[in-house]
């Protein structure tokens, strides 16, 4: 299957392309587990991470994925760069282009910036999160993780809980799940449930309705303190009481064997209680491990137009 130049969102991927990426991620994970820590396909290629928003785990995950494929990695740290001196995004990209990078991994607070960059460079651009828009590699790693524990996702039920409206994770993950035939339901504070969501996505009024729906996976979104300028719910305590996994709800989840996922980092005592972290069907650490394999599959698949030293 021929690769694309860029990965900007889940929407533009076909089901075949998604399945290709998920099927490639599996062998990458096995190779790493088999002690093959490094493989040569991106030897001589240069990967640049360009993060306009803080992130430790996503950036590290991409960096590890790129290094396992033998690419060179440079982290462009925006707060210390000329961006603070007023350089525009396009000028920055021209500068980076002149440095001959082959892949640019970008995170930005405004939706559409990765698309803008992709149009201005021959390098492959991977969207690592843009505003409320998309976070496609998160969607891929979530689908990969669910497939690993559940098998094919057709007709599987996944309840996404939290701030659906402002979450690029919710957008990308529910999009990929629906493309793969799963059913997605949403639950959260009223103002944070988008009214223009897909008609197939049902919403719930209380946690009991979520349980009655019998989901196989409960996907908790992080409350993004940094994006909560308006108050959409009264307090974190109230949020936990209404939308969090409490000890009582955890007992029910355990009795039904429901899986719990979360994109991290978790706010303990808000989205979930401490007990969730040791619950045997919590997939949070597996998501982190699978994130590297999924990103390796993406880097391996994309085809930059920068010209190759090899092949």
């Amino acid at each position: 299957m021929n690769g694309r130049k860029d990965l900007l969102d889940i929407e533009s991927l076909s089901v075949e392309e998604i399945n290709y990426l998920l099927e490639t991620a599996g062998p990458f994970k096995n190779l790493i587990r088999q002690s093959v820590k490094k493989m040569p396909p991106l030897r001589g290629r240069h990967v640049l991470t360009l993060f306009y928003e803080p992130s430790t785990r996503t950036r590290s995950s991409f960096e590890i994925a790129a290094k396992r494929l033998s690419a060179d990695v440079t982290n462009f740290t925006v707060s210390t760069s000329s961006v603070v001196k007023g350089e525009s995004i396009i000028d920055t990209i021209d500068t980076l282009q002149a440095m001959q990078v082959d892949y640019i991994i970008v995170r930005h607070g405004a939706a559409g910036v990765p698309n803008l960059i992709a149009k201005h460079t021959r390098a492959s651009v991977i969207n690592a999160g843009d505003g409320h828009h998309a976070h496609p590699t998160q969607g891929l790693l979530d689908a990969f993780t669910m497939k690993e524990v559940l098998g094919p996702l057709t007709s599987r039920r996944v309840a996404v809980i939290g701030d659906i409206q402002h979450s690029r994770v919710a957008r990308s993950t529910s999009m990929i799940l629906r493309k793969l035939g799963a059913q997605v339901g949403v639950f959260g504070p009223g103002p944070l449930i988008p009214e223009d969501r897909h008609p197939d996505m049902q919403s719930f009024r209380c946690f009991n309705e979520v349980f009655d729906w019998q989901p196989e996976v409960i996907y908790l979104l992080r409350i993004q303190m940094e994006r909560q300028k308006e108050q959409f719910f009264p307090s974190l305590h109230e949020y936990h009481r209404l939308y969090g996994v409490t000890d009582e709800r955890l007992n029910y989840i355990r009795s039904k064997g429901i899986y719990i996922m979360h994109p991290g980092p978790v706010n303990r005592g808000v989205e979930l209680v401490d007990g969730v972290m040791t619950y045997e069907r919590t997939l949070i650490n597996l998501q982190v491990e699978n994130g590297i394999a999924a990103r390796m599959a993406v880097l391996y698949w994309l085809q930059p137009e920068t010209g190759s030293q090899r092949g």
């Binding site: 299957m1 490639t24 040569p40 396909p41 092949g311």
Partner: protein
């Protein structure tokens, strides 16, 4: 149904050549332990067939399989194969005599990649190469140690190998490039 092409070896001849390969290996290594590593795709059943032939003289001879996709010199042209990442070796290769097994030796680039891939799994004491057919046209300096059939075939033609484990029947056919179906 497309024509299978001109037959170069019959099923019976294929089997004979495989037996001969097995005994040549045994002749060169009457005592030494070795492991037969098949390269995906048809090197894998070929390695298993060799092991089966050797079963009498060398009961329990070890086999493995190797996927070389990540070590190709044209990784951007690599397409997804169902064998991607399916490397299975019984143990690490430190100090082991490895006999690489493939069906056709052509440019030699696959073998170069396979040697590269093997070193991910240790430092073999020696690597040898066994192929069913050597069709010439090398692009890197690699030669087989054991070879079932040596016949120079131009680049415009395609060789179709069939092995009963994968295809139901053994056979070797020469296909004109016009009708090529890789």
């Amino acid at each position: 149904m497309e024509s299978p092409g001109q037959q170069l070896l019959s099923p019976r001849e294929i089997d004979t050549r495989i037996h001969r390969l097995a005994y040549e290996i045994l002749e060169r290594h009457p005592k030494e332990k070795f492991i037969l590593v098949g390269i995906h795709r048809r090197g894998v059943p070929l390695a298993q067939r060799l092991a089966k032939v050797l079963e009498v003289e060398r009961p329990g001879v070890e086999t493995g399989m190797l996927d070389i996709t990540l070590h190709r010199d044209d990784p951007q042209k690599a397409t997804f194969s169902p064998d991607f990442g399916k490397t299975k070796l019984p143990h690490d290769l430190d100090g082991t005599l490895v006999i690489l097994v493939d069906d056709v030796l052509f440019t030699g680039r696959t073998i170069r990649a396979a040697i590269d891939a093997l070193f991910e799994y240790g430092r073999p004491s020696k690597i040898e190469l066994a192929v069913l057919v050597d069709r010439g046209c090398r692009e890197v300096p690699i030669q087989p140690d054991y070879c079932g059939l040596r016949q120079t075939i131009g680049r415009e033609s395609y060789l179709r190998v069939r092995l009963r484990e994968q295809d139901g029947q053994d056979g070797l056919f020469l296909v004109d490039n016009k009708h090529q179906a890789p």
